[in-house]
């Protein structure tokens, strides 16, 4: 039988590097917010300079998902490509936060939370796989 009482009496010491985890997370959240906001604003301004009709369909949206189209679009200041990059960046900010946390818990030798955080990351990976399998 696992010794439960010991963990009640002596809880794990708060790791020294916890402060650093907070600082990393903080910087990441701020950076993601600022960069994606700037790109959203830029994309909106550019799209208003050349008003266009945009289909409200999922097919149109998915037709934009090509690396070469996006890279070409960014080079030529195409608002669609800029807004796509801003959206992806915003979605990836929390994903990056999870990855940073896994590393931070590893550095702390807090392996229980390496496992917990890895499960969260795994759910994200499963989501991508489900999305790719179910929708193509």
């Amino acid at each position: 039988m696992p010794d439960r009482t010991s963990s009640l009496v002596t809880p794990p010491e708060p790791p020294d590097t916890e402060e650093n985890v907070y600082v990393d997370v903080y910087r990441l959240l701020i950076a993601g917010m600022i960069v994606s906001s700037i790109l959203f604003a830029l994309g909106i301004v550019l799209s208003l300079l050349h008003p266009l009709y945009i289909p409200l369909s999922t097919r149109w949206v998915r037709s934009q998902y090509h690396v070469t189209t996006v890279v070409h679009g960014i080079m030529h200041g195409d608002p669609t490509a800029i807004l796509l990059v801003a959206t992806v960046l915003l979605i990836l900010t929390p994903v990056a936060r999870v990855v940073v946390s896994i590393v931070a818990f590893l550095v702390d030798h807090d392996y229980k939370f390496v496992v917990v955080t890895s499960i969260v990351f795994l759910v994200m990976v499963i989501t991508v796989i489900l999305g790719e399998l179910g929708l193509t």
Partner: protein
């Protein structure tokens, strides 16, 4: 959809107001921006939900970072509950892909009704619990004991360090899963449910619950966003003004939040949410059965 200056400015303004009100109320902007997009801008429910859930990430980044700065978040508790909220978000967003729009509108109306009730009946037990030291005396359960989930923060209002021991994991985890489903299905942050799970059932002080919830919301919303993105539901031209507007609104709202009297605000928001609940209910009947209820607007 013609992408005119008119459309962009109005959507930006609506999202700004939603983000501002959301921050004042301590919830995300989702509960206001989704009805605004559906009722006023006549956008399809699924496009509105997808755009809202992306903007939820933006507001979580905005609000969450200031809470991280104040060190009143519990990063480990957040990660632990995120296992449940992300699984719930995956469940909810898969449901959103397959459910009819009228069903989603109906569920949204029910959620708004619940939120109105929750905002009206908010309890203020925290001060007593802090003063009596109840937060520190609680016994952890098997799971929170194993993970060593506890913490302390400096409470400015009570001007003392408040220690707390997390317990009630089974109930907390169930509500966290439900919060994830709500987030993925309706495009909201689900913060009210997460805060209530932590504060009412897991022995976590209110301020820590709110800060930790804000941090969790972004990761939860990212999961639904990934699925919606792959499905092509995240329309960049709708997302841009919505995300930008809510980010600005939420930041301004967080700044002024502490200077306003919250009791009067809560009464006003209760009425507003009841109104939106009625309008979303009417929308659901219109989409599902072509029944037209009289509009109150």
């Amino acid at each position: 959809m013609t992408y005119s200056l008119h459309f962009v400015l109005l959507l930006l303004a609506a999202a700004g107001v939603a983000g501002f009100f959301g921050a004042l109320l301590g919830v995300g902007g989702g509960i206001f921006i989704v009805p605004a997009m559906v009722l006023a801008f006549r956008l399809p429910m699924k496009i509105a939900v997808a755009a809202s859930v992306v903007s939820v990430i933006a507001t979580s980044n905005a609000g969450g970072s200031s809470y991280v700065d104040q060190r009143i978040t519990n990063l480990r508790l957040a990660m632990f509950l995120e296992v449940l909220t992300t699984t719930g978000a995956l469940t909810g967003s898969v449901l959103a892909l397959y459910l009819n729009e009228w069903v989603m509108s109906l569920i949204f109306a029910i959620m708004l009704g619940y939120m109105a009730w929750a905002a009206y009946t908010t309890r203020k037990l925290d001060d007593e619990r802090i003063a009596s030291g109840d937060f520190a005396r609680a016994q952890p359960d098997r799971i929170t004991g194993y993970l060593g989930l506890r913490g302390s923060y400096h409470d400015l209002a009570a001007s003392k360090d408040v220690e707390y021991v997390v317990n009630g994991a089974p109930v907390g985890m169930s509500i966290a899963y439900l919060a994830g489903i709500t987030s993925g299905l309706l495009g909201v942050g689900g913060g009210v449910l997460k805060v209530s799970a932590m504060n009412r059932y897991m022995n976590v002080p209110m301020k820590v619950s709110v800060g930790t919830s804000k941090l969790m919301i972004g990761v939860t919303a990212a999961v639904s966003s990934i699925l919606f993105f792959l499905a092509g539901l995240i329309h960049f031209f709708v997302v841009a003004p919505v995300a930008l507007g809510t980010t600005i609104g939420a930041n301004v709202g967080t700044l002024v939040m502490n200077r306003l009297h919250s009791v009067v605000l809560k009464r006003i928001f209760t009425v507003l949410m009841l109104y939106l609940a009625y309008e979303m209910f009417a929308k659901a009947l219109e989409l599902g059965f072509h029944w037209h209820l009289p509009s109150l607007g």
